[in-house]
Amino acid sequence: MDGVRVGNRVVGTQSPVTIGWENIPKVEGGPVKQFIFTWFQPTVLFALLAFWYYAPNSIAVTSTAIGIGIGFRVLLLGLEWAYPRFDSWHLTWKELVTDLFYVGLGYTLLRFVDSYIGSDVMIKAIQHNFHLEAFKWFTGLPLLVQAFLIAFIFDFVQYWMHRGMHNWYPLWLPHSVHHYITQLNINKGAVGNPVELFLIGLGIGGFFDFVPRAFLLAGTLGLAVGSYQHINVRFNSPRWWRYVFNTTEHHSLHHSQDFESTRSNYSGTFIFIDRMFGTCIDGEAELLGMEGGRRMSIREQMTYPFTEGWKTLREKFGRPSVAVPAE
C-alpha cells in the first residue's frame, strides 16, 4: 500500500485510510436529511448550553445532568441504528453487552476506587496543600469562560496522558486494550482495561472550586461534543466544528489498523489541541483494531497489560534459554 504523505509522515501504508475532508463521503439523501445531519450537532450543543445557563437553580442539578446524559445517549443509539456510518460497525447484541459492562464498571467499581485513590483524593490533597483560595477570582469569571476552562484543562491533561500512553510502553500496555476494538459505537469509549480507564480519568479540571453551574456547562461540552468520538453515524459537521472539535472521523483514524495513523488525534473534545502540537490529521478509517482485527475477549482485556508486561520483563531480564547442541 502506497499511503498518503501528511506533513513529515506517510499514513495508510498498512491499512486503508481516507485523508482530507474533500475525500470523506457526505451524508446522502434529500434536503431535509442533509439539513438535519448538518445542523444536529451545533443545535444540540447550543440548546444544551442555553438550558444549563438559564435553568433555575432547582433544575440545574447533577441528577438532571445524569438524566439528560442517559436520554441523549439513547437518542444517539437510535441514530446509530437508523443511520449507520458503516454497516460493518453495526452494533450487535454481543458488542452492546460488552460496552455496557464497561459502562457499568465505570459507574460502580471504578467510581468507588476513584473516591479512595483517584482524582477525587488528588483534588482534595492539592486543594489542601496549595491554598487554592488564591485562585478564588476564577469563580468571578463569566460562567461560559469558567466552563471552557474546566473542559480545556481536563482535555489538555488528557491529551498529554493519551499521547504518553502511545509513546511510553508501561502506559501503552493498559491503553493498548482499547485499541483492539474493531468498530466504533456510542459506548466504546468506556471499553478498556480498568487501569487505563482509571488513568485517563485523572483530569485536573476539578482542582479549582468553580461555580457548580460552570461544571454543568463544562459537562455539556463533553456530552454534546465528546460523545461523537465513538459514534457510528455520519454527520456533515460544519467546517468550524471539525476545526475546533474532535469528530468520529478524527477518532476513527486514531483507531485505524494503520500504525502511523494511530499516532494522531489524541485529544478528547478539542481537536485544536492536536492542531497546536502538530498531531492532528483530518481523515477517517473503516478498518479498525490491532493484529489485523483480532477482537480481544473480556478476560484478555482484563489481564493483557499484566501478562504482556510480565512477558516483556522476562524477555528483558530473564535468564536466556540455553540451546542444547544436538549430539
Binding site: Y54, T62, W93, V97, G104, L143, G206, V211, G292, R295
Partner: protein
Amino acid sequence: MTSPVRLAQPWAPQPWGAADGSSTDTSFAEKFPSMRFINWIWHVRGSVPLAPGQSNPDAFDRLDPLFREYGTSHERTGDTLTFSKKDQPAQDKMSVFDSGVLRIEKGADGAVLRYHLISRALLFCFVLAPLFLGIAQFTIVMGKFQKPASEVAATSGKSAGAAKKPAAKAADKAEADKAAPVPLNPVDKFLGAPEPEKPKKGEEKPGRRNKKPSPTPAYVFAAIFATLYVIGRILEDWLVKRLFKKSLLGS
C-alpha cells in the same frame, strides 16, 4: 481468513446423538448429567430443514463462508461440521458463538440440519446481573464505613459543642464566608443567568466528591443485564436460525 486454533473440548452432550445411535461425547454427559438442565443458558440448539433433494456436501458448501472468518477453524466429516472460534471480530455474523456442531440428519420429512452452538457471551451476560447485585451489596457495606463529610463535620461539631474557643469561632466564620455564594459576573447578570443560591446549612456540596457511594447504579445495571440476557437469548437464537436458513436456501 482462517487461523489455526484449537477445537473446543469437551463437547456438551449432543441433543440428537450420533447416526449410529451412540452419543458423540458420552464422557461429558456421564460426568455432568444435570448440566443439560442449565446449559440452555449458553447453549443454543435448533434445526433448519434442507431444500428437497439438497445433498450434504451442497448444504455444507453453502454454509462454508460462515466458517471462513477471522479466528474460525472448522472441520467437516461426512454429515457433521464442527467449528471453533477464537478472538472473532464483531463483524463475524456468528461472533456471539464460540464453538458448535452442525449435523445433517435424514428425517421422515426430508433432511434436516441440526445445530448445537455454545456462546460464552450469553453465559457472561447471564452472570452479569448477579455480579452487579453483588457490587450493590458491596457498596452498601462499604458505605457504612464511609461517612460523608457533612456527617463527620456534624459529629465533631457536637462533641466540641460548648467548649468552643474564639479561634474556633473565627474558623467557623471563615468557613461560613467560604460557603457564601460568589456573586455573578456582570456579563452573566446582563445575560440573565440565575443568581446562585446560598447553600442551606448541613447541605452537601454538589459533586460526587462529597457524596456517599450509592448502590443505585449497580441495581440499574443488574436490571439492564437481566433484560439484555432475555433479549439476547431469544434474538441470537432467532438470528442464527435465519442465517442458516438464508445460507442454505440461498435467498
